[in-house]
């Protein structure tokens, strides 16, 4: 909305402005804002035990 129009609305009587606030509240009650749907974070990729690459485990002794 243009700033001039907003200033015009600001100069309305308090009673008129409160009546409009009431309308806005009623609208918000009847048509609640939908929360945006966000994709759920994907589950961490966990390899099953059978697919875990085989490790020999402990580092071997360093050969000279």
């Amino acid at each position: 909305m243009k700033p001039e129009m907003r200033r015009v609305l600001a100069r309305e009587t308090y009673e008129e402005k409160i009546r409009k606030v009431g309308q806005l509240i009623a609208l918000a009650r009847n048509f609640p804002r939908r929360t945006p749907v966000r994709p759920r974070p994907s589950a961490p990729l966990i390899l099953s035990e059978s697919k875990v690459p085989y490790h020999t485990g402990r580092p071997g002794k360093k050969k000279n």
Partner: protein
């Protein structure tokens, strides 16, 4: 029995607040928050009404149990930190410091013929500058653009309470 829901029963809220003053359960009150700001700017949706009051009882509870009991007897319901009237939440806040000054210096108006008080725009700006949530910054910007502020009074209030306007 539950009263019918009303989007904004401000006249009933003000009548009840005046009743609390007449019964000397509070010394004085004024409308603050968004509903006070709307006195000076374009209308916008708000979630509740904030009534700042000067307690008669200077004790820790600020006399709240007594006036809660009175309002409950008049059909108000308690819901967390709010008192509900016809489904509309109202918060009674004990005024102190800057908000106490704002109650004392509030503008006397009539709403639908009911005498009441509303915070001055300059106090609303100063309170928003002290709280500084996102919505307070938006309120300051809106008041600076749309309200006819007394800049000298605003400067005095800001200085007295060691406040600065945020950069917008």
């Amino acid at each position: 029995m539950n009263e019918p829901l009303s989007p904004l029963p401000l006249a009933d809220v003000l009548r009840a607040a005046n009743g609390l003053v007449e019964a000397r359960l509070i010394e004085d009150y004024a409308l603050g928050g968004a509903l006070a700001a709307i006195h000076y700017v374009e209308p916008f949706a708000t979630y509740d009404a904030d009534i700042f009051f000067i307690p008669s009882d200077k004790g820790l509870t600020a006399g709240m149990p007594a006036f809660y009991a009175r309002l409950k007897s008049q059909g108000w319901q308690v819901d967390g930190e709010h008192l509900m009237l016809k489904g509309f939440p109202v918060q009674f806040l004990a005024a102190q410091g800057l908000t106490e000054e704002a109650v004392h210096e509030a503008r006397r108006i009539k709403f639908e013929g009911i005498p009441t008080k509303v915070f001055r725009a300059e106090h609303i700006v100063a309170i928003a500058a002290s709280v500084r949530r996102k919505k307070d910054l938006a309120r300051i910007e809106q008041l600076l653009q749309q309200a006819e502020l007394d800049q000298t009074l605003l400067e005095k209030i800001l200085q007295r309470h060691k406040l600065k306007l945020p950069k917008l």
